[in-house]
């Protein structure tokens, strides 16, 4: 990695949800601040700034990470996937997103983007989790609205119907 100057703004290019996105970042600019303010991808939210709540979770090269614990310059040249990349428009929610709506797994929706990114990563690695495993995975996120009940139902629902990524069959 090239040596970065503390005061300077460095060009950073990421592959955001499959498309190139570029901006400038001081070395200390957090990835989440870069996404929100520099790129304008405001779907990822900041909940605690210390890596506990999970609201800012995005996927970097496929792996779920806290974007409040990573600098933008560390993401340079890498693939970053955020909630904005999950579905295209309201008629085309993924199975996971649809299950969230059906099971009332979100209320204020602030923690939801991070939760969705963690689940997406998790289900790729563990497509048939038990409820206990789902709860353990969700324990990396704090939600203050729902008591998690709807989230657990939604994930169980997706698991029993075959996967998170594909769009639901039209009714």
């Amino acid at each position: 990695m090239p040596r970065l100057s503390r005061e300077a703004r460095h060009p950073v290019t990421i592959i955001l949800n499959g498309k190139r996105a570029s901006g400038y970042a001081e070395p200390r600019l957090l990835l989440v601040d870069f996404l929100r303010r520099e790129i304008g991808a405001t779907g990822s939210h900041v909940g605690c700034e210390h890596g506990v709540c999970g609201a800012c979770t995005v996927r970097v090269d496929g792996k779920a990470v806290r974007s409040c614990l990573m600098y933008a310059v560390q993401a340079d040249g890498r693939r970053v996937d955020t909630v904005e990349g999950l579905g295209d428009d309201s008629s085309d929610l993924t199975a996971l997103q649809s299950a969230f709506r059906r099971e009332h797994a979100l209320q204020c929706g602030y923690c939801t983007p991070g939760v969705l990114m963690s689940i997406s990563d998790f289900l790729e690695r563990n497509p048939k989790p038990t409820e206990t495993e789902i709860r353990e995975m969700l324990s990396g996120h704090i939600c203050r609205c729902t008591g998690y009940a709807g989230m657990v139902r939604a994930v169980l629902d997706v698991v029993s119907n075959g996967g998170a990524a594909e769009s639901p069959k039209s009714e």
Partner: protein
């Protein structure tokens, strides 16, 4: 209605999926921090008090003003000059401003605002502000603060107990005199908050042309606070435009207390002539936003020998922290009408005392005074069962208000609208299978496990009477300015192509109210919910609002929802008139359904909805003469049942009163003292449900928080007022592993006081879960004094007694130094390869000392052996600049000295002292030291878990550098030598 025609499809009462969700699930929500800001907008960062109580001696902002990007720095002086103190509910000689003026009264209080080009620069500049404080004695515990000789939080008030009121209903003294038993209990309810995941956001823009403030804020109401903000800014209400965003990342009452920041950022914008934006961070939120008041309640019950309660006597001490911000003391008075719970108790005596302490000001938090109150009531009901050897559920059952008594006027004046409590209890027992739970308990106990069952029954008030707070005044004081009622307003608009849009006076934070409004309006107009566009951005200069507007007190279903119903009815009536003319039938014989308006008796005689609406726009001349052009109707709803308090202090505090009865089984692990909720049953009568899906969401969500209150959540303060819960690693929110699935049961007894029959449901389970779990723990361990949160440490003490003090040794918590909070003590030894005289000289030489003090940039001599230094130090994730003072005293050359001093900076303050001894050994010197350090401020709040280690490391660094300074590396002891010494073997 014609069978089979689309008009038969109704949506109210159906579990309609939320219209809000698609955007939120795609990351396309529109939260306050997501919205565009004007080019040139500046960003604020706030320097906060590290002290619980101190005089501000001086503030030097000159260095900060010179930092890159800084545009302005505001202190209490500017705020005092440009604004007025916030008005309060009580007329008291206390002043509260948006920045501390002359004195700080809690850790986290705003002291200085830096406005800079970006947030990072604004935060950088905070480090260069020098504030000199003179610490004052603190009052932290409410009972201590209420004592005569307590330090005064506001000396002008002359006392910390700023309001005392006594109430008597019925004949409580007679009832107690005649009672077979008196059962009494004192409970302490902790400080906590539901801490929304999104913090406060304010963007303030002062418009000089007409002296108006345009403010975007994720405020949630009530708009009783709007005049508080406007008055503080010295403008009329119409000159303070408050806009709220479409989406808000959780509220739970908490986003009411954003108002001081609206004033602060507005004032900053006026000074700098540009918009100013501020986004609260998590530490700011936890330490300084808001907390539900902690409360001490002594409750006595007069009881007959068969367990019937004839009177309650409450003595309540409610802790409001450092300032009484509007609408405080709401939590003490909002449930006033419900002080006898769901029980037939005609006699009631109440003493309410408000106390101020050196803690974060209390405010609105979900439950709003009820979790505290029901914790006392339902703990006492259980104690009655234990003392009289009755079944706890029988005690509840015997005292419930009988069926057929509604509307029922409670002792303190609440008009319980409807219900059948005994039937609800029966359903809960049967459908929740209490029998099986009892068998589970018996089996567990037979195996020697710690298992208990708890019960509770509560009334959930919905939609506050805006006059309830005046109960705190005497009847005579009230007569001058009577207050009561609750107004809500909704606008339904039909545009020229027949599209329907709705705006309303609510600011939902996730409750799905947009969906509920769409259901209500769709039903009236014969449309589908997804054909209704609900825009819940609110703008005080453009939308209808009144003081009751907002989202709080579980008011929506009986307030805004009804206003929407009325607005839709007006639209329907207008369109029915238009349609009737073209269908050639009378208005009463017109129906709406399937996007059509048709003759009820001949559905084929129909006109499309959009055609009827279009006529009012495209050809108003064709309308019947009594109709105005356009289709835009405002529905207003002000229920008559919400009157001001009577001369005998009886007050109908809320409009609707739901009923809930819960029970649970818990098991305690005897080794870890962890409480596991094995089964939880919660039974609700919330009247008619507008959307059962949303109702379930409210129950599951309030249940989750209830688990947090019961087992984990508390804002902890040290005895010196230090705040110790500044991160989500310290303030523990339950996760998916800790919140079990509750069994949810329902019955529906419609409210007669609201046209849709629905009752508020937004808060319920945070009122029941804490006491239900506490009752179960009491049952499991046969203990009477149960405090929440039931952390393992607390439960362990209940099982095994208090833990013994740790053995004396390195870095153990210090034995209470005076007023100590986060106090640390330790000792150590270093071998230095130089003679004691050499070491001694170094300690007394300013230049050499500068090199010894870790992180020192600069050292000035201010007196004999008295120094001031600037240092940069870090603890865990935080690092910052401090002003250090170092003094050497009790000099006994070259053998021993006392080093004392302190650190002050934006990250906090510390005071400490230590004794250093020098002893010649093996041609060098053995330097041994003991120290005690107290830490407060940000470092204590976020770094609690690391402080001990960090302090030890810093002290050790000091002595290592001392060794280096006198000519060589210190002789490191091996871990083996240390172990031997620790065991008392070796030297």
């Amino acid at each position: 209605m014609t069978q089979g025609h689309p008009q038969s499809e109704k949506f109210v009462g159906q579990p309609v999926e939320r219209l809000e969700d698609a955007a939120l699930l795609m990351g396309r929500g529109r939260y306050a921090d997501d919205l565009p800001i004007r080019v040139g907008t500046l960003h604020g960062a706030i320097l906060r008090s590290p002290h619980a109580h101190a005089e501000i001696v001086s503030i030097d902002t000159s260095e900060a003003e010179a930092r890159p990007g800084v545009v302005a720095v505001l202190t209490g002086d500017e705020i005092k000059e440009l604004t007025d103190p916030f008005i309060m509910v009580l007329k008291l000689p206390l002043q509260h401003w948006s920045l501390a003026v002359e004195r700080v009264r809690f850790v986290g209080e705003s002291v200085v605002l830096v406005v800079a080009e970006d947030r990072y620069q604004a935060e950088d500049a905070l480090e260069y502000i020098k504030v000199e404080y003179k610490p004052l004695p603190v009052a932290v515990d409410p009972r201590d603060a209420a004592k005569e000789d307590a330090p005064l939080i506001h000396p002008a008030a002359g006392t910390n107990v700023v309001s005392v009121r006594n109430f008597n209903y019925g004949e409580p003294d007679k009832a107690f005199a005649e009672a077979d038993h008196t059962v009494e209990l004192t409970i302490e309810f902790p400080r906590n908050s539901q801490t929304p995941m999104e913090g406060y956001v304010v963007v303030a823009d002062y418009l000089p042309g007409n002296n108006t403030y345009d403010v975007l804020a994720n405020f949630q109401g009530p708009y009783t606070v709007h005049p508080v903000m406007a008055r503080s800014l010295r403008v009329s209400g119409s000159a303070l435009r408050i806009r709220t965003p479409q989406d808000s990342g959780g509220g739970f009452g908490v986003k009411q207390a954003i108002f001081p920041y609206v004033t602060l950022m507005s004032t900053a914008s006026k000074i700098v002539g540009r918009p100013v934006k501020w986004v609260e961070d998590r530490l700011e939120h936890l330490s300084a936003a808001v907390a539900a008041p902690n409360r001490v309640i002594h409750l006595e019950a007069a009881v007959t020998k068969d367990g019937k309660v004839t009177a309650f006597r409450f003595d309540q001490l409610d802790d409001y922290g450092a300032y009484l911000r509007a609408p405080m003391p709401g939590p003490l008075y909002r449930p006033h009408g419900c002080l006898t719970g769901p029980y037939f108790i005609p006699n009631l005596s109440v003493t309410n005392r408000l106390v101020l302490t050196n803690k974060t000001p209390s405010g609105m938090v979900r439950g709003f005074g009820c979790p505290q109150m029901y914790f006392a009531i339902e703990r006492v009901m259980q104690c009655i069962a234990v003392e009289l050897d009755l079944d706890p559920l029988d005690v509840i059952s015997r005292n419930l208000i009988p069926a057929g008594s509604f509307p029922y006027r409670s002792a303190a004046g609440a008009i319980y609208d409807s219900g059948d409590y005994p039937k609800a209890l029966e359903i809960a027992v049967e459908e929740g299978d209490l029998k099986e739970l009892k068998e589970r308990r018996d089996k567990a106990r037979a195996e020697g496990r710690l298992y208990g069952i708890g019960y509770c029954a509560v009334i959930e008030p919905g939609q506050s009477n805006m006059g309830y707070l005046s109960t705190i005044l005497t009847a005579e004081e009230r007569r001058k300015n009577p207050k009561g009622g609750s107004v809500s307003q909704v606008t339904v608009n039909v545009e020229p192509l027949g599209g329907v849009s709705v705006t309303a006076d609510c600011m939902p934070q996730g409750q799905g109210q947009g969906t509920a409004l769409a259901q209500i309006v769709a039903d009236e107009l014969g449309l589908k919910p997804d054909q209704i566009r609900v825009n819940l951005e609110h703008d005080t200069q453009k939308d209808a609002w009144s003081i009751a507007s907002g989202n709080y007190s579980s008011r929506f279903v009986s307030s805004t929802a009804i206003a929407a119903h009325r607005a839709a009815q007006k639209v329907r009536a207008k369109l029915a008139t238009i349609a009737a003319q073209s269908l050639n039938v009378s208005e009463e014989k017109v129906s709406f359904g399937g996007g059509q308006i048709f003759a009820t008796e001949n559905p084929d005689n129909a006109i499309k909805f959009h055609r009827a609406a279009g006529a009012a726009h495209w050809h108003p001349g064709s309308l019947p003469t009594e109709l105005e052009a356009g289709v835009r109707e405002i529905g207003v709803w002000a229920p008559p049942e919400l009157d001001s308090p009577s001369d005998s202090d009886r007050i109908n505090t809320s409009l609707t009163y739901g009923f809930k009865i819960d029970y649970c089984g818990i098991e305690i692990d005897p080794d870890t003292a962890e409480v596991r909720i094995d089964k939880y049953v919660t039974m609700h009568d919330t009247g008619k449900m507008i959307n059962p899906l949303l109702v379930r969401g409210q129950i599951e969500g309030s249940f989750g928080w209830g688990v947090g209150i019961a087992l984990y959540e508390e804002f902890v303060y040290a005895e010196d007022g230090s705040f110790l819960s500044g991160t989500f690693a310290d303030y523990l929110c339950p996760t998916a592993c800790e919140v079990p699935k509750p069994v949810i049961l329902h019955m529906e007894t419609p409210s007669p006081f609201t046209p849709l029959g629905a009752k508020g449901i937004g808060e319920g389970n945070c009122m029941t879960v804490p006491v239900c779990v506490a009752n179960a723990v009491s049952d499991a361990l046969d203990v009477r004094d149960v405090r929440v949160p039931l952390t393992p440490a607390r439960v362990s003490a209940m099982i095994h007694g208090e833990e013994a003090a740790p053995p004396a040794g390195r870095a153990a918590p210090a034995a209470k130094a005076e007023g100590a909070g986060r106090a640390l003590a330790g000792e150590g030894t270093t071998l230095v390869p130089a003679a004691p005289e050499e070491v001694w000289k170094t300690l007394l030489d300013a230049e050499k000392l500068a090199a010894v003090i870790p992180g020192c940039h600069r050292l000035d001599v201010v007196g004999d052996n008295d120094y001031r230094a600037e240092v940069t130090l870090g603890v865990g994730p935080v690092k910052g600049r401090f002003q250090a003072s170092v003094r050497l005293a009790e000099l006994d050359a070259p053998r021993s000295a006392t080093l004392s001093g302190g650190l002050d900076g934006p990250l906090g303050s510390s005071r400490g002292s230590g004794r250093v001894r020098l002893e010649a050994r093996d041609g060098g010197t053995e330097v041994s030291y003991t120290y005690t350090v107290e830490v407060t401020g940000k470092v204590a709040a976020v770094g609690g878990r690391m402080l001990d280690g960090a302090t030890r490391m810093l002290v050790r660094q000091f002595f290592e550098r001392l060794a280096a300074q006198v000519g060589g590396p210190p002789v490191h002891e091996s871990w083996w030598t240390r172990l031997l010494r620790a065991l008392g073997i070796g030297q």
